[in-house]
């Protein structure tokens, strides 16, 4: 308690070393300057691109689930809406720059998210989660059923158009990486601005105590719907990155319930209601299967085929989630905070 008694409500946190923006800026500098020089194509294609897309989806879901407290199992559906909307807008609107398609995709996902967020006005927790499943199944069904969405391709498969920004092609792995990184950085920054604003406080107020929130004048219904819309907007754009920058060819089945759970796990493991948690969680979810497969084949040799890998992945991931929920409900973000504090005190002593 004495540690807090020293400062009188500072505008910026008391200087415990570096200012708050230092770490994100340093990370961005490394991501923009060092990574493109050092990373291999494999690293871009297998790790960094899915990591960026899933991180962004995690940031989006975290706004809804972590901050506003509305559980959703429909994230993959909103990713699909984003991906297919971007594809169609790009296809059907002549001369619209890529950025226009992306924004349109986000808005489409926001509209669908808003519609499937309506049950949240009446339902809570479990029941709401089940009702968001409807989005999951409905979107996947609609994209497969109506071939218009995929420009009449077989079984709803779409191919990403060549990516161009201001006349420059960004089709190589490095180009797509920088493109995805920029989108993620901008949206993450805006999300950060949102969650520290009055609206962000309203989200948390609705999550922590809906009655109290209503009584102090938080427009509860509007706040919930806004959370659904903003979250779906971001997840929709994550879907665009997934389809355009990472896989390049996607089908509706790729945005199934497994993907929704994956994003939910990212948020839980990373830490609810922290933006950087989504990045920790996504890193773990992306890197972990690769490490497991390397490790498995090293230790077990031929026995460790893809079937075993898939199964052991699920088992270890499940165990990990239980472990996190029991031991560190605040996720990797809290873990990293504690680590940083310990290092800081260690340095001060040393």
């Amino acid at each position: 308690m004495t540690a807090f008694a020293t400062d009188l409500v500072p505008e910026i946190r008391p200087a415990r070393g570096l200012p708050g923006w230092a770490l994100p800026v340093a990370t961005l500098a490394v991501a923009y300057l060092a990574v493109p020089l050092l990373a291999t194509n494999y690293l871009f294609e297998a790790i960094l691109l899915p990591f960026l897309a899933l991180s962004l989806a995690g940031v989006g879901l975290n706004i809804l689930t972590g901050y506003a407290g509305q559980v959703s199992l429909g994230s993959a559906a909103f990713m699909a809406v984003g991906a297919y909307a971007a594809y169609n807008v790009h296809l059907r609107v002549e001369g619209l720059p890529l950025i226009g398609s992306i924004v349109a995709a986000g808005l489409s996902a926001a509209a669908i998210g808003l519609a499937f967020g309506l049950p949240s006005l009446r339902l809570k927790g479990f029941y709401l989660a089940v009702s968001t499943l409807a989005a999951q199944f409905f979107v996947q069904w609609a994209l497969t059923k109506f071939s218009w969405f995929s420009n009449d391709s077989a079984s709803g498969v779409i191919d990403a158009p060549p990516l161009q920004i201001a006349g420059f092609a960004v089709d190589g792995p490095v180009g797509r990486y920088l493109f995805a990184l920029t989108v993620v950085a901008v949206l993450t920054f805006l999300s950060h601005r949102l969650v520290i604003s009055q609206t962000g406080r309203n989200f948390i107020a609705v999550r922590d105590n809906e009655t109290a929130a209503r009584i102090i004048g938080v427009p509860v219904l509007k706040t919930k719907l806004l959370a659904f819309a903003v979250s779906s907007f971001i997840i929709g754009i994550a879907g665009v990155l997934w389809a355009f920058a990472y896989l390049r060819t996607v089908e509706p089945a790729g945005f199934n319930l497994d993907r929704s759970f994956q994003i939910l796990f990212i948020v839980i493991i990373g830490g609810l209601a922290t933006i950087r948690g989504a990045f920790f969680g996504a890193a773990l979810i992306v890197v972990f299967p690769l490490v497991l497969s390397r490790f498995g084949s090293l230790v077990l040799g031929d026995v460790f085929d893809s079937g075993v890998l898939d199964m052991s992945q699920r088992i270890v991931l499940g165990a990990l989630i239980i472990l996190f929920l029991v031991l560190e409900p605040d996720g990797l973000a809290a873990l990293s905070d504690r680590l940083r504090r310990r290092i800081a005190t260690g340095l001060r002593r040393g």
Partner: protein, 342 residues
């Protein structure tokens, strides 16, 4: 037996004279026996002219201790009225035909045994419940159910019997959240962070810091509210209510579960808040000692009925109160004398 009680309660009133004072005495002169009995039309006629000069009253209340203002004409304005309010839960009557009017700038305590309907009154005033019969009159409007969403804009803030903070937010952010009803900027403006959104943010923050200072919570401003001890969380809740600058403050057992010194501190804050902001306070409290010293008037509820209303001195002399509320059983009398009277 009643003599014992009266003596005990008189001891308490001496405490009142010590702490709270002149206000209580000036109120004694102007007690109206059963205000709610006036027919509706009359009540309207009384209310509207009275509701007019609140600005002037606020100046009076803001200038000095509002207690001084209670005696004068304008301060008689009734800011909140319950008329014939009944409420039942599945056949069990929580409130029956309750009339209650609250005057500008006073501290009105509602007391009564468990289940007497005290919290129900606050829940009806704050729109959490809807009255089966009767209505609430606020700012010249009659409500069967007060619109909770507009409560803050109607000038009412409340605290809850069980804490209703946002544990995930810091103390400062909890208090800033109390300004939520004033936010007009859209979320896009807030993300951009200039113009109206910036003004609102700075204003809310400055006011929150001010109230936090006032309630001596500054050292804890950055702490997550959920990590504070109970008594401090209660105080943060008071801060969140006060930052909205309510005309009427509803406090549901603000001192429940506190130690004696915490209670005294809290009582001091409630009085100070009234004096500084000119807020009308309606509070529910079990501790008779606190009630008698803190409040200008006391309403006594028993089995959902308002059985007495008056100054602390009057109420504790009222035989109905002694019978129904205090004079329950011999063993309990001793409890009152030991635990709450002193």
């Amino acid at each position: 037996m009643t003599e014992v009680l009266t003596r005990v309660l008189e001891g308490v009133t001496n405490g009142a004279a010590r702490e709270g004072a002149a206000a209580a005495e000036s109120v004694q002169k102007v007690v109206r026996a059963r205000p709610g009995l006036a027919p509706d039309a009359d009540a309207d006629a009384q209310l509207h002219p009275a509701a007019k000069p609140p600005a002037a009253v606020e100046v009076v209340a803001g200038d000095g201790p509002a207690g001084q203002g209670v005696g004068n004409e304008a301060a008689q304005a009734i800011v909140l009225e319950l008329a014939g309010v009944s409420l039942s839960f599945g056949g069990v009557a929580a409130l029956s035909e309750v009339d209650l009017s609250v005057r500008r700038g006073e501290i009105l305590a509602i007391i009564g045994p468990n289940g007497a309907g005290k919290s129900s009154i606050l829940n009806i005033v704050s729109g959490v419940y809807r009255a089966d019969r009767g209505h609430v009159r606020l700012k010249g409007q009659r409500y069967a159910q007060v619109p909770t969403q507009a409560l803050a804009d109607l000038g009412i803030a409340r605290t809850f019997q069980n804490l209703a903070l946002f544990p995930g937010l810091s103390v400062l952010d909890n208090v800033v959240a109390g300004r939520a009803h004033r936010a007009r900027s859209s979320f896009v403006e807030q993300i951009a962070g200039f113009g109206r959104a910036r003004r609102e943010r700075l204003d809310a923050r400055a006011r929150a810091i001010d109230v936090i200072d006032f309630l001596q919570l500054s050292a804890l401003a950055e702490r997550p509210a959920g990590t504070l001890p109970y008594g401090l969380q209660k105080r943060v809740e008071l801060a969140r209510a006060l930052v909205a600058e309510p005309e009427i403050l509803l406090l549901d057992e603000p001192m429940a579960g506190m130690t004696a010194s915490e209670k005294a501190e809290m009582a001091g804050f409630v009085t100070a808040a009234r004096d500084r902001f000119g807020t009308t306070v309606v509070l529910i409290e079990h501790d008779i000692g606190v009630v008698m010293s803190l409040s200008d008037r006391v309403a006594v509820l028993d089995h959902g009925r308002n059985i007495a209303l008056g100054t602390p001195a009057e109420v504790q002399r009222d035989p109905r109160v002694i019978d129904a509320y205090l004079g329950v059983a011999v063993e309990d009398d001793e409890d009152v004398a030991r635990g709450e009277g002193l």
